[in-house]
Symmetry: C2
Subunit: 319 residues, 2 copies
């Protein structure tokens, strides 16, 4: 592998929070931060910076609606590992965001679907002017028409956004899709760094991430033990082990897994589970599979497959 | 993907038997065979054809020392799905093997390390003369020097063997290794079909298999729900879903998983488990990790990592 300046962005607390409603202890988040720091991981995404006023979810853990003064009690000793937060279009109150010099956060990432790239870039502009590094994470790219993407790039090129992410929301992409999208993004956005956020429905999250890294993608999302919604993410322990960079050390990541993640995995579910595989293979949102896993029929795979592939009951049949 | 004539070879019963000492019921093996047949899978490996006289293991299930008359009671209705068995150098008694026209088996695969390729090819020659299709499965290729491999190819070229397998015994290979080996095998063995048998220590078994398939490898090993020794194999359900061939149908594979594999996975352990990941990353045989998983220290990942990476205790330190 060429020595691209890869950056690992661990999003265990943010994306993993979608699994357990952000029920992470302060000790866990501290151990995660200092462990990732020792492992040489460049960024840790510590939660969502959405507004509780704009979303139902009063019962969620504090990592869903990050509060700076709380965060400063948790991370008392900032290391070389930068902190990031994710915001969603329409769910963030810009007045909640401090100027960067008063914040523990270094990077704010804006997630949006292709139709909302304009709104996403408006937020990016704001956060950029407040001094933050920024990314635009374009979700569900497997459902986007090529001409629509080309059109969005025109706006993105004008924006101060630092990094543009390819997000495989449905875990349906293979190496050919990654090759195609990375080449297209590089050709049309030559001034931007690129990022990858992969899901593991088909056990391809790590493979796709290293394939993209070899092509020059620099921001690589991962989570410890793959913890993330539904099939989860590219595992941090694999990325840290694999990438050729003397700063990386897998040992502290193993320690986090040993101390925390094995017990968490017994309590909460994520990873390669057949209904998520089926959703990935069919290139569909995992929400139907998540509903199945929360029901008594959670292991009725054949019925589930029949339901998703039947013409009579497919969502579009009544259109 | 180009329409190479891919063949899926499911080795759940053979390789999965290394997990549960071949404790598979007759009903399970029947369901597996007819399910794989309905799924369009071309080959099912139904066990080892090693000799009980040459191996300890009297307590193993019958799939370890396949007996033709027993097999004929199990598979009473042969479908289009061919049957294979694996033999190891020095563990097979050739007198146990019937001529193909009296056997249910179509294919005999010979597994060997590079140093035993001559012995492997001698067996291949015998089985070929008895009418069987044959493969030579070269194990542990990540530990083989390139010149040694080139030399072995001279013998292989003279042999009647139909298929030569690249076996990633330690689950340590990535797409660059697959690219390299497939290109080398194709260049030096242009008359042979190629096969891939991957392990999932780094969650790369499926990714490496489809990468090789895209380069023209035709024999693709897999197992249902990935069941196989230690980290397991490329999952059959992913391969059947992914490969573009109208004969494949994932539904019967989902049915096997639903009816059998979920309960089996609760009883026996295989798959992406951290000590197997560590062994894969370090390119080592999984036996030390398997011993750890059978001990009270099974989740002491950091100690295990320290042990495998420490100069003082590494196996070679006393040489």
């Amino acid at each position: 592998m060429k020595h691209h300046p890869h950056k690992i962005l661990d999003c265990t607390v943010r994306d993993g929070g979608l699994v357990n409603n952000w029920d992470f202890s302060v000790q866990f988040v501290k151990d995660m931060y200092y462990g990732l720091s020792d492992a040489g991981v460049e960024y840790m995404e510590v939660g969502y910076k959405n507004s509780a006023k704009l979303l139902k979810g009063a019962d969620s853990g504090p990592w869903r609606f990050l509060n700076e003064s709380f965060l400063k009690e948790v991370i008392t000793n900032k290391t070389g590992t930068k902190l990031s937060a994710l915001v969603d279009i329409g769910r963030v109150d810009e007045n909640d965001i401090l100027p960067r010099e008063q914040s523990l956060l270094d990077l704010i990432r804006v997630a949006c679907y292709i139709k909302d790239v304009d709104k996403g870039l408006e937020l990016v502009q704001k956060f950029n002017s407040m001094g933050y590094e920024t990314t635009l994470n374009i979700m569900a790219l497997s459902h986007v028409m090529d001409n629509e993407l080309t059109e969005a790039f025109e706006e993105i090129r004008q924006s101060p956004v630092d990094v543009v992410y390819i997000v495989d929301s449905y875990g349906s992409m293979d190496f050919k899709d990654i090759d195609y999208l990375v080449a297209k993004f590089q050709r049309l956005l030559p001034e931007k760094e690129l990022g990858l956020h992969m899901h593991n429905n088909m056990q391809l999250a790590f493979a796709n991430t290293i394939a993209g890294a070899a092509k020059g993608v620099t921001f690589l999302d991962s989570s410890v033990y793959g913890m993330g919604r539904a099939a989860g993410n590219c595992p941090t322990e694999l990325l840290v082990s694999y990438l050729k960079n003397p700063r990386y050390d897998v040992r502290p990541v193993l320690d986090i897994i040993e101390r925390h993640m094995i017990a968490m995995r017994e309590k909460w579910e994520w990873g390669y589970i057949i209904p998520y595989m089926i959703a990935g293979v069919l290139d569909e949102h995992p929400r139907v599979a998540m509903a199945l896993r929360a029901s008594a029929d959670k292991d009725k795979y054949v019925d589930f497959y029949d339901r998703l592939t039947s013409v009579e009951t497919a969502p579009t049949s009544k259109d």
